[in-house]
């Protein structure tokens, strides 16, 4: 089950370029690109649309 989703930024030009997903009780992580055809990206959009779920943005 998803624990947190955080925006990630390109280290060189600081543009928003993906998400880091962490899971409850797990040391598994996903780095998800901004690609509409990526099923994890699609799942993040669905997750974010649920009331109470928030994507963390700590900036570049």
């Amino acid at each position: 089950m998803i624990d947190t989703i955080e925006k990630t930024y390109d280290m060189i030009d600081n543009t928003f370029c993906g998400y880091r997903v962490t899971y409850q009780n797990s040391n598994k992580q996903k780095l998800v690109p901004l690609d509409e055809a990526n099923t994890d990206y699609q799942a993040i959009k669905e997750w974010a649309a649920i009331d109470g779920n928030n994507i963390t943005d700590n900036g570049a």
Partner: protein, 368 residues
């Protein structure tokens, strides 16, 4: 393309068309993720063992499986592996919204030749080997995800604990053209258990708009007892009304087809990842070229733990837990990664990355 079997004995050795099998890894021979995973149940929809075959549950079934790549195969048919679903926790009374199945999905651009949605739509013939201790009615469903259309047909397991070959032909669908792109157009489903919301109607044995109550009417609940198990291998779906012999592919070809969707890069310690460099004093930059171009820009799956990786440079090494972010240049061909936590070095120093922990795991996931 229309497929016609040639009956003339003089040319009987002419082979069937290559790559006629729409299903990838139908012989279950590739399992990059793992060969056995326990505790697969509610909340565990995903790919666990055999490539391209996904466990899916919805609702909240209590059934729990061990999914594995098994060496139990039909005798004398040339198969070495099968997919096994072994019930470890039973749920004899599925809730109305509970669904349990194994699916595989197909990109629309690989299905254009079946001409779905035209007057020339091809029939499709499915063949496979299956075994279970539970005899009875099972359902295989094809869902057209582009047009929300579906067709379901049943097969019967007649003899317990006996490998049986099943062949099912699905008529061509003259309605609903499939998108010519890299997204999922066909979802192909082996039902294993279906609550009332998926089984209370009438089995939809002709193509039509999907009604979920008609998906899996009559499907046995394989999960009703912990002694139950279900195996499948030799899955082939091809154009036409005749099932040809299973199309065995060389392992490198089969693996490459799987790599389009999933690529395991590191599993365990002392494995080399390749060359990297300090972009600046607090950032390691690393670029990885996939073995095969991916279906979509992939996700990086990783396991992070203390000092999982080492960056060897300038006669020393820096340890770090995992990769922190991807770059905006990550594509279906290259993955660019950054490390910035707990490291420091000299900008411009190059070196190489190596896994440093048995828990290390990196994979690229572009599955459907």
């Amino acid at each position: 393309m229309a497929i016609t079997r040639i009956g003339n004995p003089a040319i009987a050795n002419i082979r069937e068309p290559n790559f006629r099998n729409i299903i990838i890894n139908g012989d279950m021979s590739i399992a990059q993720r793992a060969t056995s995973v326990t505790g697969v149940g509610d909340g565990d929809s995903g790919y666990h063992t055999v490539d391209r075959f996904k466990f899916v549950e919805s609702g909240s079934p209590s059934t729990v499986f061990t999914q594995s790549q098994s060496t139990d195969v039909p005798t004398g048919q040339g198969f070495a592996k099968s997919l096994k679903m072994d019930v470890t926790t039973a749920d004899a009374s599925l809730g109305a919204d509970d669904a349990i199945y194994v699916n595989t999905s197909v990109e629309g651009q690989n299905l254009q030749y079946i001409k779905k949605g035209t007057s020339s739509a091809e029939s499709l013939t499915l063949s496979f080997w299956v075994k279970s201790n539970i005899t009875g009615t099972y359902i295989f469903e094809i869902i057209d995800r582009d047009n929300d259309r579906a067709i379901s047909k049943s097969y019967t397991i007649s003899s317990a604990n006996t490998w049986e070959k099943k062949t099912i032909t699905y008529p061509g669908d003259t309605t609903g053209a499939l998108d010519n792109d890299n997204a999922r157009s066909f979802e192909l489903i082996y039902w294993l258990g279906a609550g009332a919301n998926f089984s209370s109607g009438t089995l939809q044995t002709s193509w039509g708009s999907r009604t979920t109550a008609n998906d899996a009417v009559g499907q046995v609940n394989i999960g009703d007892n912990t002694s139950n198990e279900w195996y499948v291998t030799g899955v082939q779906l091809e154009a036409g009304e005749v099932a040809s012999d299973f199309e065995f592919l060389p392992v490198d070809v089969n693996l490459n087809r799987c790599l389009r969707y999933y690529e395991t890069m590191v599993t365990g310690t002392t494995q080399s990842l390749g060359q990297a460099l300090y972009y600046n004093s607090t950032t390691i930059y690393y670029s990885h070229k996939y073995r095969i171009t991916k279906r979509a820009v992939p996700t990086l799956d990783q396991v992070t733990s203390n000092d999982n990786y080492q960056f060897f440079r300038n006669n020393g090494a820096d340890a770090f837990d995992g990769f922190d972010s991807l770059s905006n240049r990550t594509t279906t061909i290259f993955f660019e990664l950054n490390v910035s936590a707990n490291i420091s070095g000299t900008a411009g120093q190059a070196g190489f990355l190596r896994a440093n922990n048995s828990a290390c795991f990196i994979a690229f996931d572009a599955e459907l």
